[in-house]
C-alpha cells in the first residue's frame, strides 16, 4: 500500500515535469500547429538561466591564500564572490543559496525575449510551410542552441542545488498515518509539483477567461479568415510563442535541483513531450496536462521492482505501450479535437 502511494507521488512529480513541458509544447504545436523540435532546447535554456544566474551571483575576484596549495603545489588562489563584498558574507551566501528561485524572475523576461525573437525571426515564416520544413528548421535551431550552450558550459552536468531550506524530505507517510519513514518525499519535489499546478492554472486561466485562446485557435485553423475579421493574428502568435517559451523555460528553471542540467537535457525530454502532447490530444491543453500525469504515474508504477520482475523491460516501454493503446482506442488521444493535424 505505502509502495503504491509512494509511486503515485513519484508519478505526480514526473508527471508535473511532463505536463509542464507538454503544456508549453502544446501551445506551440497543438495550438499554433508548428512542429517545434526546439522546444526541448527552450526547456534547456531555462535551466541554463539558473546556471547563468548563479554564475553571475558568484562572479569573483581572486585572493591568494598562501597557507593552502593548489594541485601543482603553488599557493592557492581562492575565489571570493563580489556579492560577499557588497552584502557581507552571510547575506551574500544566502542570496547565492536562493539562486534557483531567484532565477524565476531572471528567466521570465529572458525566455519571453527568446521566444519572441525566435518567432519573429524564424518561426513566423514557417506557419504556412509544410511540417517537414518546420521540423528541419527547428531541429537545426535546437542543435545550434545546444551547441552554443555546450561551447560555454561544457558537456557535463552542472549542479544547481535547491536552497538549503528545501533540502531534505517530508515524511509524508507519517502525516497520513503510515509508519514513519514509509513514504518520504523531498521538499523540492513538492515545490515543483505546486509550482507546476500554479503555472498550469495560470496558463489555463489566461486562455480560458480571455478570448485570446479562441482567437489563436481560430487563427491556426484559418489564418486568412481571422485576418479578414480585423484581427492581427501575427501579433497574437508572437505573444503565444513568448508564453510558451516562458512556460518551457520555467519548467527548466525549477527542474535544475531535481536533475543537474546539461546541454542535452532538452533532447532527452523532446520525444516524450511530443508523445505526451499527442496522447493528450492535439490542440487540447487539459489533454496535455492529463496525459503528462497519466504517463508519469504509469512510468512510476512500471519501474517498481515487483513489476519489472514480472515483466522485464516494461519500465522502458511503458510510455510507448500506453501511447499505442490510447491512440488505438481513442483516435484523437485523450481529449483531442477533430481535424487538428490529422493530415
Amino acid at each position: 500500500m505505502d509502495a503504491i502511494v509512494l509511486q503515485i507521488l513519484n508519478g505526480l512529480d514526473k508527471g508535473s515535469a511532463y505536463a509542464l513541458i507538454a503544456l508549453g509544447l502544446t501551445l506551440i504545436f497543438g495550438t499554433l500547429g508548428v512542429v517545434n523540435f526546439a522546444h526541448g532546447a527552450l526547456f534547456m535554456l531555462g535551466a541554463f538561466c539558473t546556471v547563468t544566474l548563479s554564475r553571475i551571483l558568484t562572479l569573483s575576484h581572486e585572493v591568494v591564500d598562501p597557507t593552502r596549495k593548489d594541485f601543482l603545489g603553488n599557493p592557492l588562489k581562492v575565489d571570493v564572490p563580489y556579492i560577499y563584498d557588497w552584502f557581507g558574507e552571510s547575506t551574500g551566501a544566502a542570496i547565492i543559496d536562493w539562486a534557483v528561485p531567484l532565477s524565476i524572475l531572471f528567466a521570465i523576461p529572458i525566455m519571453i525575449g527568446i521566444g519572441v525573437l525566435m518567432e519573429r525571426g524564424l518561426i513566423k515564416h514557417f506557419y504556412k510551410r509544410p511540417h517537414a520544413d518546420q521540423i528541419l528548421v527547428t531541429f537545426g535551431l535546437a542543435i545550434v542552441l545546444q551547441e552554443i550552450i555546450k561551447y560555454y558550459f561544457g558537456a557535463n552536468q552542472i549542479p544547481a542545488p535547491a536552497p538549503q531550506a528545501f533540502v531534505g524530505s517530508l515524511d509524508f507517510g507519517a502525516l497520513v498515518g503510515f509508519e514513519p519513514g514509509a513514504i518520504i518525499y523531498p521538499y523540492w519535489r513538492i515545490v515543483y509539483f505546486c509550482f507546476a499546478m500554479l503555472l498550469v492554472g495560470a496558463v489555463f486561466a489566461f486562455l480560458q477567461f480571455t478570448t485570446f485562446g479562441m482567437v489563436v485557435r481560430a487563427g491556426m485553423a484559418d489564418r486568412e479568415t481571422v485576418g479578414l475579421l480585423g484581427i492581427n493574428i501575427d501579433r497574437r502568435f508572437t505573444v503565444m510563442f513568448g508564453i510558451a517559451a516562458a512556460v518551457a523555460g520555467l519548467a527548466g528553471v525549477m527542474y535544475t535541483p531535481i536533475n543537474s542540467p546539461n546541454y542535452h537535457m532538452g533532447m532527452d525530454f523532446l520525444v516524450i513531450s511530443f508523445v505526451v502532447v499527442v496522447v493528450g490530444g492535439m490542440g487540447s491543453l487539459p489533454g496535455a496536462v492529463l496525459a503528462g500525469f497519466v504517463l508519469g504515474i504509469l512510468e512510476s508504477f512500471a519501474s517498481m521492482r515487483q513489476v519489472i520482475e514480472l515483466l522485464p523491460g516494461v519500465n522502458q516501454v511503458v510510455i510507448y505501450l500506453a501511447a499505442i493503446v490510447i491512440l488505438l482506442t481513442r483516435p484523437r488521444g485523450l481529449l483531442g479535437r477533430r481535424g487538428v493535424m490529422e493530415d
Partner: protein, 416 residues
Amino acid sequence: FTNDPTGSSVTLGFNVPQTGPYADEGADELRAYELAVEHLNGGGDGGMMNTFSSKALNGAGILGKKVEYVTGDTQTKPDAARASARSMIEKDGAVMITGGSSSGVAVAVQALCQEAGIIFMAGLTHSNDTTGKDKKANGFRHFFNSYMSGAALAPILADNYGKDRKAYHLTADYNWGYTTEEAVRTSTEAMGWETVAAVKTPLAQTDFSSYVAPVLNSGADVLVLNHYGGNMVNSLTSAVQFGLRAAEANGKNFEIIVPLYSRLMARGAGKNVAGIFGSTNWHWSLENVGGAKYAGTNAFVQSFGQKYGFPPSQAAHTVYCQTLLYADAVQRAGSFNPCAVAEALEGYEFDGLGNGPTLYRAEDHQCFKDVLVVKGKENPDNEFDLLEIVDVTPAAQVTYDASIFGGELGSCNPGA
C-alpha cells in the same frame, strides 16, 4: 601489413567522444593525446617519458618517424565510432586506433581493428568484457575493470560499514552495468553482505526518483549505484534528495556506494558525493598520498597542468599511458607490424607511469596494477580536489584468472 608507414611520419588515430554525454571525458582524453604526441616528438618537458621504466623512447618520434595524429568523434555510439575508426584506417592510414569512452564502443572498435589488422589501445572502458568475453588479439586495455573495482572495494566497505549489510543495486541496463553489478555483488557477498534486490534502470533514464524511492522500505541499508556519467549524477542526486544519506535502516546509517568514480562526474554531482565510496583507476593526488611508488603521477600532472591549467582526469591519464605504451612497444619491437607490437606488449612489465609496477597480461591483454579506493571529499580545498584517496588495493589482490570470463583472444591479425 596494413598501413605500414612509408614516409617520414606515422599517423595515430584518436577516436574519442566529442559530442554526446561523454564529450567532456573525450575532450580531456584529446588533451592527453596531444600532450603525449608532443612528448613523443621531443617537445615539452617529456612528462612521464622521464619516469617510465622503459627507456626505449627517445623523443624522436616512433622509430624515428614523426608522430602525427587524426581525431574523430565516436559520439559514444558503436556505429559512429566504427565509421570514424574506419575512416582513420582507410583514409588517413592510421597504424593504431585508440580512445573510446564506453565499453560498447571499445568492444565494437576493438573488433573492427582486429578485422582490419590494426592495433587498438583501449581508452576509457571498464566492463569486464573488453578483455574478457570480447577480447581480441589486436586489442589492449590499460584501464582497470569491474571485477577489480569489486575486489578492491569489498574489503574497504566491510571495514567501514561492517559485514552485516543488506545491499540494493540499481544497475544501468547495459553490458558495463551488468558486469559491475556482478563484480560488486560477488565480492561483497563473499564478505557476508546480502543482496536484497538488483533493479535495472534504462540507460536513457534521467529522473531516478521512482527507482530510488522504494529503496528505504526494501529492508536494505546500502544502495549501490552501478551507474556512470549522467546516470550516476542523476541517480545519486535523487538518492540524496530522498534522504537516503540521512536515513537509518536496520539500526545503521544508510550508505550509498558508487563503484566507479571519476572526477569529472563528481563535479556534476556536486556536494552529493561527499563521503561516498567508490573506486578509480588513477587520481592526480596519488603520488602525494601514496608516495614514490606511484612515480610518474606528479610528472604527468605537472606537464598537463602547466599546459592546460587544471589537473588531468583518469581518462586523460589512461590514454596518455596507452599512447606511450604503444610507442614504446613499437620501438622495442623495431616494427610497426601489429603482430610484433602485440608480442612486445604481451606479458610486458613496466613502472613509472603513475600506477606503480604494472603487468600487461599476455592471456587477455589486460593491465594489472593497484586500484584506488576513493571517497567524495567533505570539504574540498579547490574545485579539482573532489576525491580523497582512502586506500590503494595492491594489484595482487585484484588479479584473477584470465579464463573466468570466457572469450577467445584469437590470433593476431597483421592485416593485408
